[in-house]
């Protein structure tokens, strides 16, 4: 079970949250002006990366607020959480690639 830091409530267990899919996919301002291909892209196509993924979470069984997180899909490490509408911290290649730690 992930430990997720809600920007409003602090670190809470995953079971208090609901997952909201990939982040930073803005709904088009005027959907009717999009052709089918562009609309399909918005509706269905997601990046599904192996590595760092910006995604939405909602603290549904807590404060109820949506927020964004950057999670490494390989290690499940959550690099940061930030507000909806906010931008992630500058990407550090080192940190995003390799999980931390090592044997003693």
């Amino acid at each position: 079970m992930l430990l997720i830091k809600c920007p409003f409530c602090g670190p809470r267990p995953e079971l208090e949250f609901s997952y909201g899919g990939e982040a930073h996919i803005a709904r088009p301002q005027d959907p009717m002006s999009l052709d089918d291909e562009a609309w399909t892209e918005y509706l269905y196509i997601r990046s599904n990366p192996r590595g760092v993924h910006a995604e939405r979470w909602r603290h549904i069984n807590g404060c109820g607020r949506f927020f964004n997180a950057r999670r490494n899909t390989i290690s499940d490490e959550i690099l940061e959480t930030y507000m909806i509408g906010g931008s992630p911290a500058p990407v550090s290649e080192e940190k995003d690639r390799s999980p931390k730690g090592g044997a003693v």
Binding site: L2, L3, G20, W39, G101
Partner: protein, 994 residues
């Protein structure tokens, strides 16, 4: 022969315990396991193997034991199958039995499987039982299930309770052997909040069977007692014996299963049987030790063939000798220690066969000095003995000379495999250590470190030192202040780092099956066959042969299986790959996972404030999401059919009363509420006046119907939104999603009010007459309060929102009052309706009445692939609106195709036939199977009002087929139906006005 020595061991000899195994009575001591007590009674034959029904005895003394699975429990409700006898603590009156044998353990009919072993080789499921397909169900499967298997399931419900606790700690130490104890001491003394858990009943690990090591000037047992004493005295340290860390989940979240009372016997007490500790640890120290590997040689699975270290544990910890005349087969020094100690205890240890060419060193000298013959370059090529080993065949690989020696105990050691299970579960990367011939922890992913034998540090002194440093490292990493590094003076003869995996020596040329996976009955031949048949990846070999897939997860077999594949293919071990370790480390009960979530506590139950009234009236309830809803109200002697018929007639002819409280309710408030509603629902809301209602349809962004409900505009900036009973949370979540993440500029607040309003539907031609005397300040006349309007006022003095709305097609009202007044108002309405024979009805009648009118139910007529037009709801879509959720998707070509399924009515040509919901609809019943299915039945009822059956369905291009006939093929024969408009009753809607 007495197998229990006169002295020694850690059991309490003042507390003898009686127990039975397969009906025979035995005596053991408090502190024994079932395994040690049986060995002390000279019992070795404890089970039959999974596939071949081979007689099996104890292989080890710990949780890695693959053979000795037993059923324990004298009463049916507490019977537990598949317990490891090496982990079952003895209690007075314990009843245990062997498994997978018939009629008895010593004479087992299933043994014929062994004779026909060549038909049961790797992949036999896939090969032998290919044809005919029908025989699978009737012949093969029942036969295989009967012949191959583990214990029998308990036959009575589990009377025990199980609990779960969440805890946080700075440092969790898994394993309380020498290195784990040292880690806990380091972290405990540093003031960190520490949990130390161990799967055994006593803390200590290998120190519990240590005979001669001296630590800091004390015998191992004394040092252990002092260490435990020191830890117990620290208030920041929690010691959890009998607690297995079975699983590692992300972000240092570990599942620990604590056995609270199994060891007390089948007693009734308030204590839970087991407790699950869900631990969130800042840092973890893994100190899980190592597991001794069997050696592969023909017939290495007979009772009496045992791991050397296992025999040593029985000797030193339980004062029991596993045999009288022993031979040792080894690839490393540690087995010499077992041989020397057993010899000293009076066992005739005649010979050590060492696969190494010329074994040298202190242990070899000591064995020779003890009078044990040591032979180098020597391997075991076979064993004999029916229910127990009687002879062992040795071959000198240099001279080729062979000899057969008598024995009743054959000890073996192929070296030690670090227990990297938890590390691997934490997604840490394992690296192959060529010198040790094992995998050890490499790169970490989670916040943990491995210490001692589980990272390949086998020397006692080095293991303790690595434990202490690991503990300090964990303290530091968790933000604590570590104490000074400590030194431990350990006097213990160390061992070389030898070991083999796969076949030892040149044994490949010796005939016969050698068991790799004892529990799943997988032999060297199976794995070699798999590689010959082209399997290369260890993941494929594992699945094809089932090696490592038994309940022990290959604790003793995985490395040997890798070794065989490597040897057979001539590929280095680390190129063969490694299978994935998954939780649980050892089998864990369903009970502890379920915890308190059983019976009444399985799920929350939601009840309306009118529930008790319905219950008193004898209502039959059904579950709708978490709600209990009255399904029908049977009168004396009525079945559901009769009750529904009466309830329908009463509502259509006079008046019915229905509890609609479970409908979801959301209050949408704010300056931009109408704009928000415009964007969320297909309908246009701007022009809806306060005091009016509108039926709303909500789509997902992909254009499919997600929910529907009646919405009242209470004021310019306030909407009372209703949703389906099951969809309430989903609808609120979708609204919040758009409001928070897309349109945060809108001034709108959303509040779930489902639990705030009790809703009483009063439906039927006399509905107005029933409510009129109770309503104080609202004019109910048709002129003042038309269909689809809403008023605020009072009923019986209670504040009310009154909807004039109908889900029956009759004149109808829905009375919304604060939840706590639900029953009082319901009873008042019921009393007022007496004159009109007001009839309470349930969800079943509600379904029939709405189906007669062709009103859809989301989830019944829709399935997540239905557009508003498919459902005949185009009229509810605001065409002039520029945008709403789902609008763009409705314009995609697939959504406008003329070939889409559309909702229609289906009338059976024979009016007495009621269709099955879910039945398929076809155009041409003559078509050979599989026929082209063009639709399906979504709702089907007997309509008493119409005196015939009615049905709704989704049919491809259905509206164009109105007036034609289609077929619903059923097992009992084809049913011909006529396609009609989906409104069966009062199509003009005249009755809505009463």
């Amino acid at each position: 022969m007495n197998y229990r020595l006169a002295s020694g061991g850690r059991m309490d000899r003042t507390r003898p315990l009686q127990f039975t195994f397969d009906g025979n009575r035995y005596t053991g001591f408090a502190g024994d396991t079932l395994a040690s007590a049986l060995i002390a009674n000279g019992v070795h034959l404890v089970g039959r193997s999974f596939k071949y029904h081979r007689p099996r005895g104890f292989l080890s003394a710990g949780s890695d034991e693959p053979n000795a699975l037993v059923g324990v429990g004298g009463i049916a409700s507490r019977y537990t199958p598949n317990l490891c006898a090496t982990q079952v603590e003895l209690y007075d009156g314990l009843v245990a039995e062997s498994q997978n044998r018939w009629p008895s353990l010593s004479f087992d009919v299933g043994r014929v499987n062994d004779v026909f072993a060549r038909f049961l080789s790797a992949g036999f499921y896939y090969k032998t039982f290919m044809w005919p397909a029908a025989a699978w169900k009737s012949l093969y499967e029942p036969m295989i299930r009967k012949a191959a298997g583990l214990g029998k399931a308990p036959s009575a419900p589990d009377p025990d309770r199980y609990t779960q606790v969440y805890v946080h700690c700075d440092v969790l130490v898994v394993g309380a052997g020498p290195s784990g104890l040292a880690a806990a001491l380091a972290a405990g003394r540093s003031g960190s909040k520490v949990i130390l858990c161990d799967e055994q009943d006593q803390l200590g690990g290998t120190l519990l069977s240590e005979s001669e090591a001296v630590i800091d000037g004390q015998a191992a047992a004394e040092w252990l007692a002092r260490a435990i004493g020191d830890l117990s005295a620290l208030p920041n340290v929690t010691l959890l014996p009998r607690t297995t860390a079975f699983g590692w989940y992300p972000h240092n979240f570990l599942g620990l299963c604590q056995r609270v009372k199994d060891h007390l016997g089948e007693v009734d007490s308030n204590a839970p049987r087991e407790r699950m500790w869900q631990v969130r640890a800042r840092e973890v120290v893994i100190a899980t030790g190592a597991i001794e590997r069997p050696l592969l040689f023909p017939d290495n699975d007979r009772p009496g063939i045992m791991m050397a270290e296992g025999a040593r544990i029985y000797l030193n910890r339980y004062g029991a000798v596993a045999g009288t005349r022993a031979v040792v087969f080894t690839s490393c020094d540690s087995a010499y220690r077992a041989a020397i100690e057993l010899k000293a205890a009076g066992v005739q240890v005649t010979t050590i066969a060492d696969v190494r060419p010329s074994p040298k060193g202190p242990w070899i000298e000591r064995a020779r000095a003890a009078g044990i013959e040591v032979r180098g370059s020597t391997v075991v090529t076979g064993t004999t003995g029916h229910l127990r080993i009687s002879h062992v065949d040795l071959v000198d690989e240099v001279s080729g000379k062979s000899e057969t020696l008598p024995c009743d105990l054959l000890l073996m050691s192929g070296g030690f495999t670090p227990s990297v299970h938890l590390f691997s579960q934490s997604r840490g990367k394992l690296v192959y250590d060529e010198a040790l011939k094992v995998y050890v922890p490499g790169q970490s992913v989670e916040r943990e470190r491995s210490v001692g034998a589980c990272r390949g540090i086998f020397d006692l002194g080095a293991a303790i030192a690595s434990g202490f440093s690991g503990g300090l490292d964990a303290v530091k990493a968790s933000g604590g202040s570590p104490v000074e590094e400590a030194t431990f003076v350990v006097l213990a003869e160390s061992f070389g780092q030898n070991g083999v995996i796969g076949r030892p020596g040149k044994a490949a040329k010796y005939a016969g099956r050698a068991w790799v996976d004892f529990q799943n009955d997988v032999t060297t031949k199976d794995i070699e066959l798999a590689t010959r048949e082209g399997f290369r990846s260890i993941e494929h070999v594992k699945r094809y042969t089932t090696t490592g897939m038994a309940t022990d997860q290959g604790k003793t077999s995985n490395m040997n299986a890798l070794g065989i594949v490597s040897q057979t293919l001539g590929v280095p071990v680390d190129k063969v790959g490694l299978t994935t370790f998954r939780p649980p480390y050892t089998p864990t009960t369903f009970g502890v996972f379920a915890g308190q979530s059983r019976g009444d506590l399985f799920d929350p139950v939601r009840k309306t404030s009118i529930h008790d009234w319905a219950e008193e009236q004898g209502a039959v309830f059904e579950d709708v999401s978490l709600w209990k809803r009255a399904r029908y109200f049977p009168r004396r002697g009525e079945d559901m059919h009769a009750a529904v018929k009466r309830e329908c007639a009463a509502t259509r002819q006079s008046v019915g009363i229905f509890d609609a409280t479970t409908l979801g309710k959301i209050e949408v408030v704010g300056k931009d509420a109408a704009e928000f509603m415009n964007r969320m629902y297909t309908n246009a809301w701007t022009k809806l006046e306060p005091g009016r209602l509108r039926y709303g349809v909500m789509l997902r962004e992909d254009g499919f119907i997600m929910d529907d409900g009646v919405v009242g505009r209470m004021a310019a900036d306030r909407f009372h939104v209703t949703t389906t009973t099951g969809g309430a949370a989903r609808v609120l979540a979708q609204m919040e999603d758009y409001l928070q993440t897309e349109w945060s500029d809108l001034e709108v607040w959303l509040t779930s009010t489902t639990e705030q309003w009790a809703v009483i539907a009063v439906q039927g031609p006399n509905a107005r007459k029933v409510l009129d005397p109770l309503v104080q300040d609202i004019d109910l006349s048709a002129a003042a309060m038309p269909h689809m309007s809403v008023r605020e006022g009072h009923i019986c003095g209670i504040p009310m929102r009154l909807f004039r709305v109908s889900f029956t097609g009759e004149l109808g009202f829905e009375v919304n009052v604060p939840m706590g007044y639900g029953r009082a108002v319901w009873e008042a309405i019921h009393a007022s309706g007496k004159a009109h024979d007001i009839t309470p009805y349930g969800t079943e009648t509600m379904h029939v009445l709405r189906a007669e009118k062709g009103y859809i139910i989301v989830g019944q007529e829709t399935d997540g692939t239905v557009t508003p037009d498919d459902a005949g709801l185009s009229w509810a879509v605001g065409k002039a609106k520029k945008d709403f959720v789902g609008k763009r998707s409705l314009a995609r070509p697939a959504m406008t195709s003329s070939d889409r399924k559309q909702m229609v009515g289906l009338l059976t040509v024979d009016p007495t036939v009621v269709l099955e919901e879910g039945a398929q609809v076809v155009a041409d019943p003559q078509e050979p199977i599989p026929m082209t299915m063009i639709g399906h039945v979504t709702s089907s009822h007997w309509s008493a009002t119409l005196g015939r059956s009615i049905a709704l369905g989704l049919v491809r291009n259905g509206r164009a087929r109105i007036g034609t006939r289609l077929t619903v093929p059923m097992p009992s024969g084809n049913v011909t139906v006529e396609v009609v408009r989906p409104v069966f009753y009062d199509p003009e809607g005249k009755r809505l006005d009463g």
